[in-house]
Subunit: 283 residues, 4 copies
């Protein structure tokens, strides 16, 4: 690869910890005449893993920089250097409009931090909305076919666009591990509860039955344990005994869409590390 | 007026307080075979004013009911009974998309609680967005004309639709008392600060300069004191020293749109009383 | 009972719903020349139960008023009228000081809304603190005796004070149904998680292991299902990946104490109805 | 100064920015065999000032380390290295107990992160509370003497204890610049509003009159502009039209005490930089 003429890069490192890593990394960056715009590190105090995210400005060949850093780090260290660039998303939906609508509005006014390439739905309800924004909508019904067949069709629709991330914006189908592993650590979901409370179906019904006084939303990375993937961000809104399950759902929608959009921004800006089924987030 | 066949009504009463009002009102409703769905009262402990909002179900001639209630209340009591029905809105905008976009998405999926009749902008930036939703957009530029002439044109555009409420969804022009008094107590504004902090222009610049750790949004009724009208609802989001004024604005947008939508719902559902430059809100 | 000379009363009613109850109740209060200070009702829309809490001012024999209301209500209606008065509390603790300390400070400055009669601990750690406030502390160790024997001793210590409510201010022993049923619906607990997440032991350890981004606290009435009793109020605080389980616990303490104090105030002011393992709260 | 045997140090640097500072600092720390526990930097994007706080573990002579760092930094750079140690506080109060009570309870159970050396009050109301915790209370009445005389007596009482910080825990006297400059950047105040709203006296009265829907609290460093000093942290709680000014004050107390305790912890842990009348906070 020839010298990249990009001006801004994100450097991400994860490795087991030892003394002197920050010193080494910053020295390498300094020698290459890269200016540190923003820098953050974290060391897990129990497992002694080291994480670092650095935004730099300058000119560099990312591959060469990665190589130099790697040779100064413990074996198995993971090093990545990428020019900052808009990531591509494919959004999966079912019938609910609020999360998709919010992403579309942000996208239409360059406020999402990513490019929506297409929307894929297992129902047709949101096709009109997507078309209003001149984006492709793929209707992939699950009716009359097996889960495996349906996921195969979903894959085909999604992979037309080679997205960096797949965003589940209230996509109400359970995904198989096979599907999930096709986009490892690259699926972001919004779950309409304050996880780990109310895992599974109908969380607002569960929340209403339990009589909670706050309802929440959780954005997380999807792994094959579904609602048990690493949590990116969470929010809550207060409710009272006067709220029906439907009222709770309505209150929840306002926080769901904000939380999902925040999570999307965090992942597409390379601010999230996954680790031990948790996230480390450099905001 | 003949017997109305509507099934649900909102009865609103404001009067100076005296003993027995709730008893009288509920007895009248009971005798007319109206079932109380939801009931709320408030008595100002200092000024001894009484406020009541009651949702009832049944069949009634609203005018007759109002008359009967009024004759049992102190002189000057205000009584209103309306069948519940979607109110009509005209939305005023300038260039920012997030509040308008949020209202449009809610409206498109019957989640706003009101009907958007048209959008009027003093810039053309949001015309495309409005057209995507098949709603009328009126571009009324303020360039090259006086404030009075501009407001006259705005009036003309708005009044085509005889709206129940005018919603300022980041409309960035100062309104004259003349304009405001044309829609008395019927203009809802979102101010991008936690009022009364940062009254006036560029609140996020002010907030950044002051080094606050929370930024806020305030939805209020517009009176001729502009940012000093009665507050309907407020929200905040945390910020840090790392936020530029632009970052604060971005963080603030997420709360602005939610707060404005909440305020719109409260007013169109007749839940807001204005009183002593404050609001009484029966949620 | 002779005419009570108290000036303020709380009237509480629960019954299956039928038309006209509010009208009847307010008419009875009006005829008895009682002035309604504050009034709230709720009807469960599915189960058609009716709840009402009314604060009145005037002079009345509570027993007679209860009787008159009851005979105008459906059979099995529950009616209670009590003069407002400070309730008495016994507080149970183990080793953690923050909730107890907060209650003691409020109590010392008449800001609790209740009277602390005594503190009972299964460890001696907090004895000094309680003594500083000139209140009785009973040390009832659980060491070397059976759970039944321990609870018997706890009962004995508590019942010396005939409390209206027993408050578990981080009392870290599991209670038997036998113990709980001795104070039916009169035990308030603070659980250090956002229930129903992290039921059981060490919720902050669980929360840390799960990688949540908010930690919470839940005040609830204790029934024989322990952490599953009716929720009174809940709160959350944000945390990050940098928080150890101990940091989460520290962050949580600030919300635990505030939430517990709020719950105590709600119950001692007779604002809480228990219903269907949930609470109805008239704030 | 001989080699210090402390094990943990905080290194703080502020300087105008230039390339390579982080690299230089971390290299120096590495060469001295100091292990970085936690590290944070911030560069003001407009004014190009650089701030860094690093916690290290090891053995070092702080003076020598400061010297070595300083000679590698731009002229006028500020460098400080201190072993971590509990700071000493003197608390100033008037009549309100909630903030003082909260600090005393935390202090009594080693949960404050600082040592309370004494409490000084211009009223006697809180003397008993302080004495309960076996701490010195100085009653310095302002009655019958001039402001200057009173402040002189306050100084005398405070300076007996050579505190690192003076904490105004609802001290309701206006301080002169002369008094403030005696403890430059070392006075922490809790203001009972969401600054800059409701500067000055009786903020809850002001908030009630304005009809806000949230009330707040602000902890800040006191400079000679009083309520206009750099903000450390802020919080809010929701209120409704039913809240009297007294109810707002009560709601506010729960957030005031938590916010003040948080601010105290941030300053005594050397996490706060003051800059351009704002704070930079490395949490």
């Amino acid at each position: 690869m020839s010298i990249d003429t990009h001006k801004r890069y994100v450097v991400r490192i994860r490795t087991r910890d030892r003394k002197g890593i920050i010193s080494m990394v910053t020295q390498v960056l300094y020698k290459r005449d890269l200016n540190i715009i923003k820098n953050a590190e974290y060391v897990d105090p129990e497992l002694h893993h080291f994480f670092m995210r650095t935004e730099v400005e300058g000119k560099v060949d990312p591959g060469l920089l990665e190589g130099e850093l790697r040779q100064n780090l413990p074996a198995q260290a993971e090093v990545a250097c990428h020019p900052t660039a808009l990531k591509g998303l494919v959004i999966l939906v079912t019938k609910e409009s609020h999360c998709l609508g919010d992403l579309l509005i942000r996208h239409a006014f360059n406020d999402l931090g990513a490019t929506i390439k297409a929307v894929v739905g297992n129902h047709q309800d949101l096709e009109t909305l997507v078309k209003r924004f001149d984006l492709p909508f793929h209707y992939v019904s699950h009716e009359g076919i097996s889960r495996e067949e349906h996921e195969k069709l979903m894959h085909a629709a999604i992979d037309l666009y080679t997205p960096d991330y797949v965003v589940l914006a209230k996509y109400m189908r359970i995904l198989t591990p096979h599907f999930i592993n096709h986009y490892p650590q690259r699926i972001v979901n919004i779950h309409h509860s304050f996880l780990p409370a109310f895992i599974g179906a109908n969380p607002y019904m569960q929340a209403h039955a339990r009589g909670v006084k706050l309802v929440g939303a959780t954005a997380h990375i999807v792994n094959d344990a579904l609602d048990e993937g690493p949590i990116i961000t969470q929010g809550v809104v207060p409710v009272t005994h006067e709220y029906t399950a439907q009222d709770m759902a309505r209150a929840g929608r306002d926080i769901e869409k904000v939380i999902l959009a925040k999570a999307v921004r965090l992942v597409v800006e390379d601010r999230v590390f996954l680790y031990d089924n948790k996230t480390i987030i450099f905001e």
